[in-house]
């Protein structure tokens, strides 16, 4: 049986590798094409509306060398990760607590689900009113934007756990804590990672929006301050760096997902 599988793997290996190279080449070409389009578009639109990619690159290098850009990145990243971590813990722990209280869950569930619909960005003025202009209002915004996708995924994940696995674990002597940690947590890991892929980029977006409004540091400040000074190159620099930041975080997340969820029978070419 397994030797047959192994034989199939070998037979498929060569074409798969070539296909992978083909995809890689295609991706590089696509990036080159996009950069060319950016350059052409910038030349047509003029320097006020679109910055020349070469100038953006030069500015980025200069700002990295002077250290100001790294400071902006650090400020935004720090804020995003603190807000993310707090909301993530709440979004994971709360469903596990609710699991033990089915009646309370039934009572509050419609309200929780309705509160998903509140446009979180609309609450920013309130946050500023309540929490001042330090990090606190930004953390609240990031926290709320991260909390919901995580909470909903974990909540749904807990509901979807195979009862039979839980029963099996009970019969062999597992207590509630072991069941939560071993059976439920592992069952919902794929849900959790799907939520992380939504929540982490959101955390960065939320931090940037917060920085548009209050504070004088961070990528959001860099973008908005550049705009106010008619410095389009600075605006594009901020956007490009923020995008790169999200892409790096996503790549780390995908790598972690592969490691943690290696047991899943996923078709490799289906992975995004």
């Amino acid at each position: 049986m397994s030797t047959q599988d192994a034989a199939l793997d070998l037979a498929e290996a060569a074409p798969v590798r070539w296909r992978r190279y083909g995809v890689l080449i295609g991706r590089v070409l696509l990036i080159a094409l996009l950069l060319v389009l950016w350059k052409v578009g910038a030349d047509i639109a003029g320097p006020l509306y679109a910055a020349d990619p070469i100038k953006v690159f030069q500015r980025t290098v200069a700002d990295v060398q002077s250290g100001t850009l790294l400071r902006h990145i650090y400020v935004t990243l720090r804020l995003s990760l603190i807000g993310f971590a707090l909301a993530c813990v709440a979004g994971v722990v709360l469903p596990f607590v609710l699991r033990r209280m089915p009646r309370l869950t039934a009572a509050v569930e419609p309200y929780i689900m309705a509160s998903v619909g509140i446009p979180k960005y609309a609450l920013i003025p309130l946050f500023i009113l309540y929490f001042g202009i330090d990090d606190a209002p930004k953390l609240w915004l990031i926290g709320l934007l991260v909390f919901y996708p995580i909470f909903i995924a974990v909540f749904a994940g807990i509901r979807n756990v195979d009862r039979r696995l839980i029963n099996m674990a009970r019969v062999v002597g597992a207590g509630e804590f072991v069941i939560a940690r071993e059976v439920i947590w592992n069952s919902l890991l794929p849900f959790f990672f799907a939520a992380l892929k939504i929540a982490l980029p959101r955390a960065i977006s939320a931090a940037i929006i917060g920085e548009f409004l209050v504070g004088n540091e961070g990528l959001g400040f860099l973008i908005e301050n550049s705009r106010q000074n008619f410095d389009t190159v600075g605006v594009f620099e901020g956007i490009a760096v923020a995008t790169a930041l999200v892409l790096v975080i996503n790549a780390l997340l995908v790598a972690l997902d592969r490691r943690v969820n290696a047991w899943r029978p996923v078709e490799r070419h289906m992975q995004l």
Partner: protein, 264 residues
């Protein structure tokens, strides 16, 4: 003879009608039998006779609506959903119809899972697990995930996951039901071989008459719902048995006919 290891007395189970309109349905009513220490009891019944429900109640996964389950002369808290004690402190093992392996654990990790949660993982129990893995032909597949195993291999893994912690009673719910005939015979042989090593008490539910005869010391026949004992047969075929040639044994045909007449 001593008191039986496991006794089921007047056990009853009711399923509430859909949307409260239908009459409640009694799947099991007044079911009484007992199992002696070291006995291999097979229970046979038509599908829908409540066989799985019966085992779920004995394993304390499901509540009963009447009657008693007495284990080692102690009545189990079987009617109160809050007091249910699944597996009665690891004394009742349960090999379910589906293998219920944890998909994120490898074969070895799955087999060690009960020892791990019971805090009994040590060199000795690891060796025992290793022996069982080799005994059922899973050597070389210790680090495979369940989805990388065949149906028969998963069954073997789920079987030894229960054997590894050595519960005094093991319930088995048509464990070989979904397998092809060849694998099935192989697993029946493996099971009898393992049983011969330890002589556990086994309650084995099946809908296959030949399987019930081939494996059991005694066979109970369940009636259609509400399930009761429709017949009891002592399997006189001596052990060790040759599963592949069991149908050739002179007693087989007569037992088969008698049981068949009672299974509706």
């Amino acid at each position: 003879m001593n008191a039986p290891l496991l006794e089921v007395r007047d056990l009853a189970k009711r399923f509430v009608g859909r949307a409260g309109r239908d009459q409640p349905l009694w799947v099991i009513k007044d079911l009484t039998f007992s199992v002696a220490d070291g006995e291999f009891l097979t229970i046979i019944g038509p599908s829908g006779a409540g066989k799985t429900t019966l085992l779920n109640m004995i394993a304390q996964i499901d509540v009963a609506n009447g009657g008693e389950v007495i284990f080692q002369s102690q009545p189990a808290p079987i009617s109160d959903p809050k007091a249910l004690d699944p597996g009665l402190h690891c004394r009742i093992g349960y090999v379910t119809q589906e293998d219920n392996l944890l998909p994120w654990r490898t074969t070895l990790q799955n087999v060690l899972f009960p020892l791990e949660v019971q805090g009994r993982l040590n060199d000795e129990t690891r060796k025992h697990a290793d022996m069982l893995i080799r005994a059922v032909g899973l050597a070389g597949f210790e680090n495979h995930y369940p989805h990388e195993l065949s149906g028969g291999m998963r069954k073997r893994a789920s079987l030894i996951r229960t054997l590894v912690y050595d519960p005094p009673v093991i319930l088995m719910d048509e464990p070989f039901g979904a397998l092809d005939a060849q694998t099935r015979t192989q697993l029946q042989e493996d099971l009898l071989r393992l049983w011969n090593l330890g002589r556990k008490t086994i309650v084995f539910v099946t809908h296959d008459i030949a399987e019930a005869i081939a494996l059991g010391d005694r066979t109970l026949v369940l009636s259609r719902a509400p399930a009761k004992i429709a017949g009891e047969h002592v399997i006189t075929i001596p052990r060790p048995r040759d599963i592949r040639g069991i149908m050739m044994h002179p007693d087989f045909a007569e037992l088969y006919q008698r049981i068949r007449a009672q299974v509706q």
